[in-house]
Symmetry: T
Subunit: 68 residues, 12 copies
């Protein structure tokens, strides 16, 4: 890789799937951070309402390169 990288830890949410929750989290992080390179799943949870899964919540660590 070369250089130095930093992690930010976020929770993405979605009513559809774990994959979509990750996508939402990554898109939001990209609004304020440049050079996003990869993510790692830390935890998967969700909300239940009226006996159905109402929301998928995925905690991810997102890695991005720092400027020199």
């Amino acid at each position: 890789m070369g250089g130095v990288y930093k992690y930010t830890e976020i929770v993405g949410t979605s009513t559809k799937s774990f994959a979509d929750a990750v996508q939402e989290g990554v898109k939001r992080a990209a609004k304020t951070l440049r050079n996003l390179g990869w993510f790692e799943v830390v935890e998967q949870r969700g909300q239940i309402k009226e006996g159905q899964v109402a929301e998928f919540q995925v905690t991810i660590k997102v890695g991005f390169k720092l400027d020199d």
Copy 2:
């Protein structure tokens, strides 16, 4: 939250995806337990048949509020 909550640990299964396996597990739990509030993924596994994924199995802990 307030009050006291209890966990039950179950394994949901699905031929489609991890998200669907969670949904199946939650729906079954809701048949006999009231006030289900959230779930946490503990483990993800699955069955293989003839070189293809035949079943997704997700172990989840489901939290629900106890009556006072």
Copy 3:
């Protein structure tokens, strides 16, 4: 189960979802190994490009029966 089983650890990738990444990994393993029986998810990561998830990567341990 009976008999002795062996694990092989692989990483499947997909541009669609975690479930699809597992499927890709299992299909590739089935090309060279017989009697695949189950998989266990070890880690979930992915690549980010231009602020979007570009690839889902799932590390799985695949279990298969050894001949006697």
Copy 4:
């Protein structure tokens, strides 16, 4: 110890301290279960409101002896 024991996993809450949250959880469990013998802390979390800790939440596994 002798005999067979069972665990139930619960979350106690309190506005005062972690120790009090455990106490609340144990007291509620004792309403429906006999022979409670010990607890083990699994996780400690809490709620924040207006920049102050509003609630301490402690997940505990409670062990109790089963009748023969």
Copy 5:
């Protein structure tokens, strides 16, 4: 597997061996639960008296199928 499964967590005890402690726990669980399918060892401990192992204690999670 198909269907939904549930875990119950128990501690079996024995003066002989870890394997026997598991057996004792499983036999007790079978008195009140049907369709027990598998167990997973969570923890192994024991009691010491007069400088000798006096009891083996094994915590196991026991999985069983829920009725549809």
Copy 6:
């Protein structure tokens, strides 16, 4: 929950108790971050001086909602 959340990891300290150390950490975080929603305990340590506990140190992850 809805939306995307972010974690910040801090260490609160107190000469009184673990609960107070958490409170100190949360109050400091609230000075520069809005919408703090919950905390999770990561580690509990402390300093010893002259054979007495001189300070309780609690590492917590604090979650807060990001603006859309």
Copy 7:
């Protein structure tokens, strides 16, 4: 820090709180060991009697400097 440090692992007990159990453990360790510098919480458990917490038990690793 400089020099070499050693850990001793102990369990402190208290009828009041987790913080007090740590204090009891540290005070006892200080009777026979010099230069105690810090502690790290390893596990938190407790005893239940008549449906109430009867004792808090905290396992800690205590670090102290070895003489050169």
Copy 8:
């Protein structure tokens, strides 16, 4: 030790005990691998039939020296 070693991960099974399951796994591995030196227990599980333990399953990592 000197040199380079490799791990293979297998699951041994037995109707008698955990120790026997390990022995079965090691004997099978020795059929196709030379220079086996040690094993490490990774997981202990088992199958239940008619309310009795029907099979002990032990996952082990087996280490062996590679030729130079």
Copy 9:
């Protein structure tokens, strides 16, 4: 329990079984320590010779009460 307890961590070995290795470790610890109360299994390994298990090695933490 009451009072303060200390852990010592040892490795017992046996050519017969894991349970016997624990017994050997406990008996040796009892030669120099009084008031041994319980043990907890930390790790299970072993040596392989000529394709057979030659030795079972169990690492245990042994707890004992300290004098007041």
Copy 10:
């Protein structure tokens, strides 16, 4: 310690050693953060090129004191 501390998680890289990768990460963090006090190693990985280690990558959590 006194006061409140914050962690930032970074990945340092080096073609020489793990220690040098940590040094690189710390030096870069010091460009934008004041009062850096300590680091903790979270993960060690690296890149391989043409059958040789081409880069050491060390993930560290760096702790620093927050202004009052």
Copy 11:
């Protein structure tokens, strides 16, 4: 990354340093495997002789791309 990857787990040894032990392990793996891409450190141990470190032993998982 694209495609499917496989892990092999090995132990490299060196009388000099942890970094050198990794290098030795990687070089040996490259003798029989093509397309090695990265390594992850799993465990660090070593041998002691006459009160000095006599050997550094590093267990690593090495990832490499499988042919399509």
Copy 12:
């Protein structure tokens, strides 16, 4: 191995590298303990001063054989 072994847990420090910190810890332990056989790395941390790594700190468990 044969016989019974004991672990002592220490922290070695060095201004040079992780490997040197281990060496320092081992040498100190050898002053008061005989028959040191191996070490296992538990944790790696360090001190930062003026934006540079000022000290490497490695926690290791050292194993040694007990007299019969």
